[in-house]
Symmetry: C2
Subunit: 405 residues, 2 copies
């Protein structure tokens, strides 16, 4: 029987994009399997050959849409009608942000590790509708403390929406989503929870009992296909809990979301998550994402992939902690995710953004890919089930050499 390392080595042969480099930016964008790239190209050529605008193509695209919604739903432990296809995770966040029936004085509670794009959207919504916005200090719980208690302290009688990430993109912390949602829902009948799932879909075993979206209770769960699922950039999605669908109005609206009568007059919304979809997209992305997901499933179940991700991030975390001038953000236990963030200490023993920038650039010259983050200032290296133990060890060695230079 092949060892896990051997099966990973075999799986990696399906990724030209992984050859000749050590890749640690899965949290930015995952590499595509050759099959996924081929699927995209074939779909593009099929559309051109058989149409592009033809009844045959239109029927095929509709079936492609059903297939990708269904594949995504299965991976999230939910059903197709709860899924909306979007261009990216940010659009998925904007849909509920602009779709809730806001009343002046409503309150939004935002975790303090949310992405700047989401923060900016919340700021604009608050300006337009006269909302109150506050932030709760989740980052401070990364090495101890109770994120549920932090959220609880942030809740107000008028809290309409709580926004958190399932896995925090900067620290790699995994939030106890089920407990947070249960708290918020118990708090007040109108309180909804929007989850930024950019770093969790494709990483966490969301199809497994105890992890599925219906079990978390989350009202909105926005994700992308191009990070941990290793699909193409430009397609993501949104899960809307069935109980939250009716109160969430479509905002950006187009023909894909509406029903029309025999004279093309709009008569209402599509009955399911398609109501939030707008208009023409790059449809070949759908099949490519489906192939990307199939490649992952062929290697192993999502629980096995997550287990390997955590084993590799622990290996990386322990290696980095052995280096004197490196400080991992997480100090008490290894990351419960594939995100390993660390700081390089300057001569004053303080984290040095300049060193972070220099490290990332030098590593990129060596075809080792990591990234800097600005809040907190750090470098982030991501491991996937596709990562190799030898890659992790090489990364640690190169960082050691950099800090000694």
């Amino acid at each position: 029987m092949a060892s896990i390392s051997e099966t990973v080595a075999i799986a990696r042969q399906q990724f030209l994009a992984l050859q000749g480099k050590h890749y640690f930016n899965y949290g930015g964008q995952g590499p595509m399997a050759d099959r996924a790239v081929d699927q995209l190209i074939q779909a593009l050529q099929k559309i051109q050959t058989e149409g592009p605008f033809a009844n045959a193509v239109s029927g095929w695209l509709q079936a492609e849409g059903e297939q990708i919604r269904s594949a995504i739903a299965e991976a999230l432990g939910t059903s197709s009608e709860t899924i909306t296809l979007t261009e990216n995770v940010t659009v998925g966040c904007n849909i509920p942000l602009w779709g809730l029936p806001w009343q002046r004085g409503d309150h939004i509670l935002l975790g303090d590790c949310e992405h700047p794009g989401v923060v900016a959207a919340v700021k604009e919504i608050s300006r337009r509708y006269g909302l109150e916005v506050s932030t709760c200090a989740l980052a401070a719980t990364m090495n101890g403390g109770d994120p549920v208690a932090v959220v609880e302290q942030g809740l107000r009688p008028q809290t309409r929406l709580v926004i958190v990430s399932h896995v925090l993109w900067n620290t790699g912390q995994l939030l106890p989503l089920q407990a947070i949602v249960a708290l918020c829902h118990a708090h007040a009948p109108q309180t909804r929870v929007l989850v930024d799932a950019a770093q969790s879909v494709g990483m966490l075993p969301l199809e497994s009992p105890g992890w599925t979206l219906p079990e978390t209770g989350a009202d909105y769960y926005a994700f992308t296909g191009h990070k941990w699922l290793c699909g193409p950039a430009g397609v993501g999605g949104l899960y809307v809990r069935p109980e939250a669908l009716a109160e969430t109005a479509p905002t950006f609206i187009g023909w894909r979301g509406v029903e029309v009568d025999g004279a093309a007059n709009p008569t209402g919304w599509k009955p399911d998550g398609r109501r939030f979809e707008v208009a023409t997209s790059d449809y070949p992305l759908w099949g490519a994402l489906r192939q990307a997901m199939a490649v992952q499933a062929e290697w192993g179940e999502s629980a096995a992939r997550y287990e390997r991700i955590c084993a590799l991030s622990e290996r990386l975390w322990r290696g980095l902690r052995s280096l004197p001038q490196v400080k991992c953000l997480l100090t008490e236990s290894p990351p419960p995710s594939g995100l390993v963030s660390f700081q390089l200490l300057g001569d004053d023993a303080q984290p040095s953004p300049d060193l972070h920038e220099a490290l990332v650039r030098q590593l990129e010259d060596e075809k080792i890919y990591v990234r800097t983050l600005l809040s907190p200032h750090c470098v982030r290296a991501c491991v996937h089930y596709l990562s190799l133990e030898s890659e992790v060890d090489e990364l640690v060695a190169r960082i050691a050499a950099f800090t000694k230079a």
Copy 2:
């Protein structure tokens, strides 16, 4: 010197998608030149090889974005900073629809030939903000009458936005945009004009004096790359008149539209049209659209392309008018566009939706591509500068055979 037909035949050799068929659905989606397809594939592979998430790729994508904004701006007779890249024309319409500072009681005047997606968006905005919406009867002017006078009759003291198409997607009528905009702007200081340009960008010579967007005075001009420009599906754009930028707030918001400080806190909008862009897209589409536009420019200037489009649509229109059971929507003069819409008359001498459907299906079996429309019930055939006289004649012959069968 090669005749025009010969240069078109040569240009068509660059389109595998045009081989073995007679294509008349340019108003739905244009076929892509092989070079545009190749560019898309090469960009996808380049991103995978050099990243996908790396500083080198990020810098290259930024340059790609600047190039496509610049190419689009040139084709519209404007400058790059007025251009926002979007996923499609409908998103481009939704940006000003949701971005204007609506006051209860504001009025929207909508042409009666607008796309159902836009109509549905206006309906939802009116519900949310307590707006008044009315429609003006532009379709009735297709064979006489004054569209400017029709718009004038629809204006009210509280009219905040007028929405029209530059070329009407159902009848092929070209509206006198400059006169309509001048009327609206003279009407009241707050009146803005949003133009659905799905059928005009890539068809009209918008870079030519007398046609440029600044000369039209339009405040918002939303378009797509995948119809008359023959680019890939999934990328379009929006022009915002500089004078309208400040009052148009971003709605769907993400990292591509915001500026951040050194700690990643959003500090404001990007200074130009990028403020309405959201987040990760399928970036390879940008270069593909640029190539598609270059292929067209190599054949001839936009004025020459438009002249050929009109010559071919006149040929088609005259051919169809010679058939006893066919009724063209335009009766007085040939279409000033590439859109030729017609009805098949049943035994009762009335237009027959069943016959339209049957014709489109039979023609598709013969690899001749046209489409039905529902309002008014008709069949639409589009000619491009890439169309051949022989294709047009063959289409007329096939329709003649169908009506005689």
